[in-house]
Symmetry: C2
Subunit: 422 residues, 2 copies
């Protein structure tokens, strides 16, 4: 499915260590281009690489952003000479208090709220923008209901590109504001998110200069999530964790974290120690967890109904690959109710001072549930991925948290309130 | 004004390179303790140091947070062994598109929205917490209307400390949520922010284990802002900028950025090249700008009336010191209307993909105005400090930005909308 045929023929592309696109189903290799589906079997394409000369030192000497891993990504070696966002190298914190609350021996939280627009989407969009520039695109586009819209509009603004962001017209006003503020074209589409998605695929086929980050440049875009895996390993002191819990929407992130770990081990950057990958979903949109529980290889689509909207993909493209990774590594996939999601958000905030969006609540609450079920080993070193910010999903905690007390402005009143509530 | 007399006598404090507290008015030196006003003249105390063995290499080998500068801060050398937030090392981006829009040759934006709770307050609170622990306090407290409340509640949660945060009961619900979610004691006080502030001072005197970060441990707290200056210099490649524009609330941040630059030059970490420091205020709360314009040394308090609430301190404690720094370095202080603040927010977002809170709009708009007035040199390399996040002040852009168009979900409708609005 060549969308920009003239570009596909180009051989002078500089996409760094990327050498080809490779079909995840049939293994067919095709030249680097703006393609996303195998011309033989219509399976999804992913980037194939040839890595050279990558050492811990060369990475550590790099910039304090995902571009320190540029020689492991499908981006030009001079990626930093073009304006782009500089996401990544977010905090990995030792979460001793959350560990105690959950009954885990050793726990880390990867806090990706520190990215430019406060979600991991900045990682994938930055890689998509860099690849899209090299592929000859000039407009950055996406369908989205939130985090991706923010990231695309912001990255395009910084790069001086036009952007076209499609959102359902029913989206909450706050999410419209946080995209519209960056300028660019923001189209509110009368329809569901599925309608918006279909429209994006149509438009991508019609406009050869439009890079829909999660459609026609998806193979490049998806690689950005590898950096989450790289950073966890580097920040642990160049080693792999024993367990990691990853939220599952399309499932791409989980598979790319695994890919990142595998690449680091293959390149000798870390010892190839065993690790187990766990997936987390909201019960209201848990098709992959269901397939895992049922022992199926095929994921049956569902109609999402959960407050964890950033995970509400009812027909997750990478669902089968998530099942592969989780089963291969000996992990599991759990799911939690919206009530548990809110409790997860609050537990993380209370114990570690990290305010996550609903997806983060899913991760924390699922970790708790998997521990209780004995699927997660409490004695194994564990990392939780927190991929988005609570400021963007305030509705989840509205009417759930508030002032301890309201008092007159006297120290006597404060003392009394403390005696009563302290 | 010794609040915890038993602690003040302690000589075994480990506050790193800090050696004493020194009065900024009369120069009187007093032992390190939980004091904030000179026992002789009631002038403000600040930390005096003895620095040893600090090199670029030793800093670069440190953690990727403000703790890389721990040997320049009033914190124990082992500060990282206690749970705290790890703010800092936020992006310094080359802002070529904003530079072009403003007509400046070379511009950088220091984007402090990447901190744990998305404002520079995480820096000062992290230092206050580390010092407070060493000074024997066990409860972290503040009066606040926003960013500081978030930072204190989050840091206390992570450290496992109790917190007491005082807010005016009239505060917007979103700001209450983003503090309350971290747990701790959140007291809504019936009164103005001035009432809340007075109450904090009263309570600090009454509770010897309560560290009000911006009251009784203020000398330590304030030092956290030096790290903004350090980072700018390090991230520019170990050199000072020629001009820097800093928003002014209490004025502490501006004076500490200057202190950071001076220390780096004195220690030989950067060449002692000349720099000019500029202040930015909102017209609705511009007492320091007014004093600058009038050539006064004394700042006359005002009653704030501006959308830039995080800068709305009508009686800024460090106002006179801001005037000193600005005049000594050859800078200036400008002020802008609320309308200009919103335009500043939008200009920064559109050109660089950085969504700042109202204080950031003040900085950008004031830079524009100072350039137009010829006070800022367009040929000198300039840094703008963006210290807080637009997600926290969405009201400022509500009804100002929105979708380009609302369309049915067909590609024909999209084409028509683009033709009309493109």
């Amino acid at each position: 499915m060549t969308l920009t045929a003239d570009l596909a023929a180009t051989t002078a592309l500089d996409l760094g260590p990327a050498r080809a696109l490779s079909c995840r189903e049939c293994g067919h290799r095709t030249a680097l281009a703006a393609e996303f589906a195998c011309p033989h079997c219509f399976g999804p394409l992913e980037v194939a690489y040839e890595f050279t000369g990558i050492t811990r030192d060369s990475i550590e000497a790099g910039p304090k952003s995902i571009w320190r891993y540029r020689h492991l990504l499908p981006v030009p070696g001079d990626v930093q000479s073009h304006p782009n966002t500089e996401p990544g190298l977010t905090r990995l914190i030792e979460a001793d208090r959350l560990a105690a609350a959950l009954g885990v021996r050793k726990l880390w939280v990867k806090d990706d709220t520190g990215n430019p627009t406060h979600s991991f989407k900045d990682r994938v969009v930055a890689v998509a923008l860099a690849a899209a520039r090299e592929l000859g695109f000039t407009v950055l586009c996406c369908p989205s209901t939130g985090n991706l819209a923010n990231a695309v509009a912001a990255a395009a603004a910084r790069a001086g590109w036009d952007s076209v962001v499609l959102i359902p017209s029913s989206l909450e006003k706050a999410k419209i504001l946080t995209t519209a503020v960056y300028g660019g074209t923001l189209l509110a589409v009368d329809g569901t998110y599925d309608d918006v998605n279909r429209l994006a695929t149509e438009l991508a086929a019609d406009h050869e200069d439009w890079a829909f980050v999660n459609v026609n440049v998806r193979p490049y875009y998806a690689e950005g999530s590898k950096t989450l895996g790289y950073e966890v390993a580097e920040q642990l002191g160049w080693r792999l964790p024993e367990q990691i819990v990853v939220p599952v929407a399309s499932g791409s992130q989980l598979t790319k974290v695994d890919k990142g770990f595998t690449e680091f081990a293959t390149l000798g950057l870390v010892e190839p120690t065993p690790y187990r990958v766990f997936g987390a979903q909201a019960t209201g949109c848990s098709p992959v967890a269901k397939a895992f529980e049922d022992g199926h290889d095929v994921v049956t689509p569902v109609r999402p109904d959960t407050i964890a909207r950033s995970l509400a993909i009812g027909n997750p493209a990478d669902g089968p690959y998530v099942l592969d990774v989780v089963r291969r590594t000996g992990g599991a996939i759990g799911h939690v109710s919206d009530e548990e999601v809110v409790e997860g958000i609050r537990l993380l905030a209370r114990t570690e001072g990290v305010f996550a969006e609903t997806a983060g609540g899913v991760t924390v609450a699922t970790a708790k549930k998997l521990l209780e079920a004995g699927a997660l080993d409490p004695d194994a070193e564990t990392v939780l991925l927190i991929t988005g910010d609570g400021l963007k999903t305030l509705d989840a905690v509205t009417d759930r948290v508030g002032p301890t007390a309201t008092v007159p402005s006297t120290s006597k009143a404060v003392r009394e309130a403390l005696a009563q509530h302290g």
